[in-house]
Amino acid sequence: MDKEELESLFEAPPMAEQERMVEAILFASAEPLRPAEIGARMPHGAEVAEAIAMLKKRYAGRGVTVRKIGDAYAFRTAPDLGFLMQKEQVEHRKLSRAAIETLAIIAYHQPATRAEIEEIRGVSVSRGTLDMLMELGWVKIGRRRMTPGRPVTFTVTQGFLDHFGLETPRDLPGVKELRDSGLLDNRPAPGTPPGDEARGDDQEDMFE
């Protein structure tokens, strides 16, 4: 039986009803949900994207709003009302200057290798800094760079975007200006052969 046939058998509920459903599902979850996850719980033939768009519009300017976080959505309280929620405020671990800078470098330069972070800060990344950012759920390991040594790269997570209220990393403050002024370019030091990323690790032994 193909999809067309199924759709004709079970008619999707009207849009207003679909919007209610998305509202209920999103409300119940503390974590952002991707449209596909929402869709998996909706009746067949639901137009999730459209329902989300309607919901987003409905909640614009309310005390809680629908936020897009990466490719997912979540209800979040309006930032201007944060002062009412002292009771819910969670104790934030005070991040060291090194940790904050490392986080910012990963966010603005992602995917960034450890060597690139060190090149920008001019010091080695201390033990435990990346570890801590990963434990906070703000940084994760991305793809390996296809350069000699195949170093791992680090990127920011959906949790990072959620925490800082960003829809995408493109919404980072000042990112466009930084890019335009060339400050996000990976400019190698003069005299280094291009693509000299090799940091000589034991990766090769491990997988070959």
Binding site: F27, A28, S29, A30, E31, A74, F75, R76, T77, A78, P79, L81, G82, M85, E88, Q89, V90, H92, L95, R97, A98, I100, E101, L103, A104, I105, A107, Y108, E119, I120, R121, G122, V123, M134, E135, K140, I141, D162, H163, F164, G165, L166, L172, P173, G174, V175, L178, S181, L183, R187, A189, P190, G191
Partner: protein, 263 residues
């Protein structure tokens, strides 16, 4: 009022000296040489794009000298940077020698200025990032996650970090193993005996000892030696039990084995 005038001069000198020393004494407060350079560059009071790298290099070298005078130990990377800046300074001041390879002083200086500008830009961006509204501080997620159901299913969760930490744990454990000989390349007589018992049933004809070695132990010389010794010892044991016959035509000739035919 000459007295006052002299007093004022002393005062100025003292302030200048204190300022210079403060910079030196504060060395622990810098996050590496680039951070220190960035701080020094602020004294030039110009846009980082117009900075005099030569003046900056001199300031830095002065700083290092001052640290030496005050017998403050500087970390190695500060000294590496000092050596590099001294080199850069000479490149900037002296005309390039004919046939000189490598980047020019200007190129190196431009890159250093770029690095400083980039570091400062990242600092500013980090501050702006942290100044944003934050989840759990300025805006909030649903406080009461609603779960309404009778259907239960267990979902095991593990993150990449869990996985890496588990692996790290296994690997670290090795580092702290009590002293013991690594027996990776040793084939025990018990193992050989076990294997031989399975094989001799089929050994109706004389066969060379080597044929009885396990496949995986035949190539690596170390493993082969260990397996040969163990198999030979096992063969002797089996001869003693009356299950095997063993022969060698002459010294250093191949050792041959076969099942002992009884009756």
């Amino acid at each position: 009022m000459p007295d006052d005038f002299i007093g004022e001069l002393h005062e100025q000198e003292r302030a200048a000296r204190l300022a210079a020393e403060a910079l030196v004494v504060d060395v622990a407060g810098y996050e590496g040489p680039l951070d220190l350079l960035l701080t020094l560059s602020r004294t030039q009071k110009v846009d980082l794009r117009q900075i005099s790298v030569l003046a900056l290099a001199e300031q830095y070298l002065l700083f290092v000298e001052e640290a030496k005078r005050l017998r403050i130990e500087l970390a190695a990377d500060y000294l590496v940077m000092a050596a590099w800046l001294a080199f850069l300074k000479s490149r900037l001041l002296l005309p390039p020698e004919p046939g000189d390879e490598g980047p020019s002083g200007e190129e190196l200086a431009a890159h250093l200025a770029f690095q400083l500008e980039r570091l400062e830009a990242m600092r500013r961006s980090a501050a702006r990032l942290m100044a944003r509204d934050q989840l759990g501080k300025d805006f909030f997620a649903r406080g009461e996650v609603e779960v309404v159901t009778r259907k239960r299913s267990v979902r095991y969760s593990a993150t990449l970090l869990d996985l890496m930490q588990a692996y790290a744990m296994v690997k670290t454990r090795d580092d702290f193993e009590p002293l013991a000989f690594k027996r990776g390349a040793i084939y025990t007589m018990e193992q050989a005996l076990e294997r031989m018992k399975g094989l001799i049933g089929h050994a109706m004809e004389w066969g060379m000892l080597e044929q009885f070695l396990p496949e995986a132990w035949r190539l690596d010389p170390k493993k082969r030696r260990s397996a040969t010794a163990a198999t030979f010892a096992a063969a002797l044991e089996l001869v003693k039990e009356g299950k095997l016959e063993i022969r060698q035509a002459d010294t250093f000739d191949p050792i041959e084995l076969r099942k002992r035919v009884t009756g």
